[in-house]
Symmetry: C2
Subunit: 763 residues, 2 copies
């Protein structure tokens, strides 16, 4: 389904209304500000197929898990991201007929998501059943400057009549989750109040007792003239509405402006949250739509200045990469350490939970290079806050003495996924969290973080691994039994190479850190612990193919029928939609990078030959049925100088949602994999690495691209790197000198200067 | 919780009413006749804790499965055994007060299950809130002679008053399953009718459309005098009731007799089922309670004559073994090839489904030696009837060309279990079904069955195995990946020794049968198929411990920490209630016999040393947390001459429910494991084997038993074997001579004669 919507470098555009695309559009045109977000549902009533979705960061419901047969240690709930108050609603009625694009005749329709300024716009003309035609123009945004504020400007122009139009802006918190396990309502009302041109509905979640206040104020305008209106007040449980009829002259535009504040007990006390919502919405109302919009655009401009990627010569790629960056910043802004990056962000309710290992493995590298370090730091603090829960989680599984196992999926630090083969066994996530700390430190050199927070987390994680390995008398090594690697098309395997390698690295790194800092700080390790860890480090079993450089994904991998993806008939792809689960499990096919994920993370531990042999062994067996897979292959292909493969894999990840490859964009977007897309340009194509030794750049450029360039931060210094077919152009936008290694050449770019290098010099 | 109820050789007795034991008692005192069954719920109203349960064989509801994340091939439903019409109900009221043992004062209480005659009796005295005291005596049974008939005699004697008593016999089909996944009603009403002293309620299941008619007739007696009564008729959806008040004189007993027919579309057409129920209940009513009871007792006497086991010197063992035999015959009588042996029989609703591999592995050997061969044959025909569904089941998993995979759990041939690690992977069940055919043929020499039915099933199963093995280039052998063996404390393992061995045997046996019969009958194998199978047979990988006779349960088994059960603190047993699932999975501990299960089945393939080494390796690692495990260990221990272990394991299985070891008797009994208990006496202690070469007897006797004896059939010939501490006494109750091998001595027992042998002669 190529090019679901129109291609534009800064916009997603839909011209003409296609109801069958509505749910996909609702996901793709979603807006958010890291604090709350909203699918691109219509403001006015819509009776066609739609997934109503409004989400408040950090607010969830512990839905009872559905399992066939409960066993010890199974999580008791699956945290659902909650569909919250519908704050966009504005019903329009003429002569008793509702404006509803499912029943009115739609004469024209234009919807656009402007990624540069962060706005969702719509304009359309439609004819009511009584023949009356209107034009509607709306624009809305979730303020990037004021994290609890949203605003809508909704204009109507009668085209072929003068007459009364009824406007009914409302707030409706009587909403359900489509994805509820047992079809329950998740909200109770706290209270609601209604007044002239204003209203508030305060609700709280069942069980978790999160309170969310949604407050609105409205104003009504004839062109630029503020009108006095006398609305009727409608209220019931969960619902407030102001409605009024107004006589509109033919051709004259009237505009309803709706200001909303969404304030919750994530940020405020139960005592004050409602008052704060009212105060903030009042302030927004007084400041007015134009001011809110201007400051919102300015905030977006600032984001883009650190993170934009330009691709010339391939507008589909250009649109896609900006789309991915845009949604990442809509989902997470690093303002609150209670928040994280849910797999669907604020674009849908599927999966539940907010935090997967995706955060550390994919999103963190993105924020580390595109935003101030404090933003990435918040993601790390989030995990530090959950350390005690991670220890409790490990205790539930029989571990002790401070061993920490971070959950596979979480909202508050507790595990909340349904499947034992994931929660109990896909423990490599624990390593990703340790790697995240390492990655943060090598990007920022912020050792203070290590001392204050990082060490505790590292030691907890290392303790888990030390207990999770067991000595095999048979192998005379430490083995790790019963795990699931990143490749979820295997379950409960022994000696997953990736997990063993990562675990060993965690022990090594934590020991290193302890050796460095325990002298001047608190001693964390118990007597004998370091020796035990070292013994494990020295004796970890790592399965390897005989007479080759290939690491084996797990014990017994070579017993499988050694097919490659091209052996599968096209009609049976993706295999997860065609093959039974057991067939997938015993097949050789790989859902997502596993050994290669490890080689990607620890690239500098392996020589090129090893990387190449493993890539050539695993790539043909990988079906990439996880959105997180192609980016890693793209980066490794780039590292190996395989431009075509790097580009093909980039394409596969970057337009995943825009072109809806997997037929699931209607449910929401793949937010975390978007970071992988960014990685495949910056780490892949441009070969950017940042570590203790500095900045390294090893670029390639796909043949179809004229040039590409991107903004990034290196230790707080903004810079722009532009790669053409012949040159590498590096601009230092900061006030300090920047040192880097281009290919293997040391270079220095002076403050505010641009340096040009020819590819020919290096290759 | 030892001796939950009183010990008696032929009875289970409860003296004194203990409400906290009521649900356990309801299970243990259950009655049934292979066609329908009833928990020991009270006839009169009871507001205390209770699990109402009335079950009709073969009638089920496809309850939507509960899974965290649905994957291809997952079964869509979990077949629930249905709680059906409450046919026992008789409410009693005096002066507006209900008889309810939860609220009345209970002065005495006696309940007994008479296993010899198959009746449930109750007598009690209680005092109503108004001080009136009555004595109640009831007796009920599900007729072993008339499979759709149940009858109740319910007598009341006023102790300290004369006055009116209200009797309200009723049928109530508005019942739910406690174990419903989504709290739904599973029944719709077809119709109901009510008349004087009679009524009928006809209901049908949602989705599956099974129709069940429950019809009643009542009579009322003063001592032995039939009284004329004029009941009030009460009817509503799902419900009919006759009620009447009668003046009872102090000290005079009045009796309500309630006759019931339970007729379903398992046996009858939708057109006729209601009429049949009415006809049958009328006939029962005319024949009268005493005649029904007499013929019922006679049927039970006949069953016992073929199957009884006597144990002298250990009355707990004696009671237990009869309890197990009794419940097996209450559950399955072989009259209908649509029925099978559910794990809870008619005693509870847990687990769902009717048919597990338990049937072939445990129950079939029991029926083969205790009942006419046609009864075991019905169990085989049942699977033959499901062959097409087994082929479809295999097709869903990607197999082809007639490969058949029988389901793990089924009602109608379709898979209906919740968990992928069981349905997809615990495929050894397929082998048990083939073994069942082999076992039937060696017991009966009924080769005609092989030709007409068995071959088809064997070939289908062998085809599955031939496809399920795959060639490993690494091992240069055929391997079987991703299975779960009988030991469900492992999941998704490679090369489970038991499964590989059994699969190889299936291929071998099916080839043998084809070689023998394909000449004179239809050719089933396709060209090349025999050669392919032979190649697999010759090259199956069987993991083995180096330098030993120990077969390895699976690849990598020796990588586990090699602990034994005595290493586990008592407080952590059973591990399934204390350890998280992943810890259990990666531990060395074995839920139930796995390698040893294979050695038990194919005992004659292995020398004593091999059996001994494997037993000594695995027994200490086995936690026996399946009810199906200890019996196999008991039999092998007996084979190895280990009397103490044989006895300990026997005890563990025989009183599992009577003493409620696992704290779950309230949910129903472990019916299929009861057959294992019988096996541990006959196959274990007495060492009885029947194969193509005849009857073999190798007895031992536990030191605490004075003697034990049992009735059995050898190729249709009834015989009794009695073992004392010194002698073996064999009685041939048949009209033919019986040949056998006692230890290794050939012996002949003449018709109607008893031969005595001294142990000393042999040992």
């Amino acid at each position: 389904m190529l090019n679901l919507f129109e291609i534009d470098e800064w916009k997603i555009i839909e011209n003409g209304f296609t109801p069958s695309k509505q749910k996909q559009a609702e996901s793709i045109f979603s807006i958010g500000n890291g604090s709350f977000g909203q699918r691109a549902n219509f403001e006015e009533k819509y009776t066609g197929d739609s997934l109503q979705g409004s989400y408040v960061g950090g607010v969830y419901y512990p839905d009872k898990t559905r399992v066939g047969w409960w066993k010890n240690g199974y999580p008791e709930y699956f945290a659902k991201v909650l569909n919250s108050c519908n704050w966009i609603g504005i019903n329009i009625e003429i002569d008793g007929f509702q404006l509803d694009l499912n029943t009115c005749e739609v004469k024209s329709f234009h919807r656009e998501l402007n990624m540069f300024e962060g706005t969702l716009k719509r304009s359309f003309r439609c004819v009511f059943q009584n023949g009356k035609e209107i034009e509607v123009k709306s624009i809305r945004f979730c303020s990037m400057e004021r994290e609890e504020i949203g605003a809508i400007s909704y204009s109507i122009t009668p085209i072929n009549f003068s007459g009364n139009v009824k406007f009914s802006p409302y707030l409706d918190c009587k909403v359900m989750n489509h994805d509820s396990n047992y079809d329950e309502y998740f909200w109770d009302e706290d209270f609601h109040k209604i007044g002239i041109k204003k209203g508030i509905v305060c609700v709280k979640t069942k069980k978790t007792n999160f309170h969310v206040a949604t407050a609105m104020r409205i104003s009504f305008w004839k062109e630029s003239e503020l009108l006095d209106i006398h609305p009727n007040l409608v209220e019931r449980e969960f619902y407030v509405e102001n409605n009024f009829e107004y006589y509109l002259e033919k051709g004259v535009t009237h505009t309803l402006k709706k200001y909303v504040s969404v304030s919750s007990t994530i940020n405020h006390s139960e005592f004050s949250y409602a008052t704060i919502a009212l105060n903030r919405v009042t302030k927004a109302y007084i400041n007015g739509f134009d001011m809110l919009l201007a400051e919102h655009k300015a905030a977006w401009a600032n984001i883009w200045s650190n993170s934009d990627i330009k691709i010339e010569g391939d507008s589909a790629s250009q649109q896609a990469i900006r789309f991915n960056i845009f949604h990442l910043f809509q989902t997470y802004t690093g303002k609150n350490s209670k928040l994280n990056i849910g797999p669907k962000g604020f674009t849908g309710e599927k999966y539940g939970g907010a935090t997967y290992w995706d955060t550390e493995a994919y999103c963190l590298p993105f924020y580390l290079k595109t935003a101030e370090s404090k933003i990435a730091r918040q993601l790390l603090v989030y995990r530090h806050n959950h350390l005690q829960k991670a220890i409790e989680n490990a205790e539930k599984l029989g571990f002790k003495d401070g061993a920490a196992l971070y959950p596979m999926v979480t909202m508050n630090g507790e595990e909340c996924h349904n499947e034992w083969e994931i929660t109990f066994e896909e423990i490599h996530r624990n390593g990703a969290i340790a790697f995240g700390i390492y990655n943060y430190v090598r990007h920022t050199l912020d050792e203070q973080y290590l001392v204050e927070y990082g060490r505790d987390v590292l030691v907890g994680i290392a303790r888990f691994w030390a207990q999770r390995f067991n000595w095999s008398d048979d192998k005379k090594s430490y083995v790790m039994l019963g795990v699931t690697g990143p490749n979820e098309y295997e379950n409960n395997i022994n000696n997953n190479w990736y997990t063993n390698y990562l675990a060993k690295w965690c022990l090594t790194y934590s020991l290193e850190v302890e050796n460095k800092f325990a002298k001047d700080n608190k001693v964390l390790l118990r007597s004998g612990e370091a020796e035990k860890w070292q013994h494990i480090i020295d004796n970890v079993y790592q399965p390897k193919k005989a007479n080759s450089r290939v690491y084996l994904q797990q014990d017994g991998f070579l017993d499988k029928e050694q097919l490659i993806v091209s052996d599968i008939p096209q009609s049976e792809l993706p295999i997860n939609q065609h093959w039974s689960w057991d067939r997938i499990l015993r097949s050789v096919f790989i859902k997502q990078a596993d050994v290669l994920q490890g080689i990607y993370l620890f690239e500098d531990h392996f020589d090129k030959e090893t990387i190449k042999e493993n890539f050539e062994f695993y790539e043909p067996k990988t079906v990439h049925e996880s959105s997180l897979s192609p980016c890693v292959h793209s980066i490794l292909a780039a590292t190996l100088g395989n431009k075509k493969m790097a580009y093909d894999m980039y394409l596969r990840t970057s337009r995943l949602d825009l072109d809806d490859y997997n037929h699931e964009a209607d449910e929401g977007l793949h937010i975390t994999s978007m970071a992988g897309t960014w990685m495949s340009v910056v780490e892949g194509m441009a070969g950017v690495r940042i570590n203790e030794e500095g900045l390294f750049i090893n670029p390639i450029i796909p043949e179809t691209w004229k040039n590409y360039s991107f903004n990034m931060l290196f230790r707080g210094n903004p810079m722009t790197i532009k790669i053409t077919q012949n040159t590498i152009e590096i601009t230092n936008n900061s006030s300090s000198e920047i040192e880097a290694t281009l290919f293997s050449e040391k270079i220095i770019i002076k403050s505010k200067e641009t340096s040009n290098f020819s590819f020919n010099l290096f290759i």
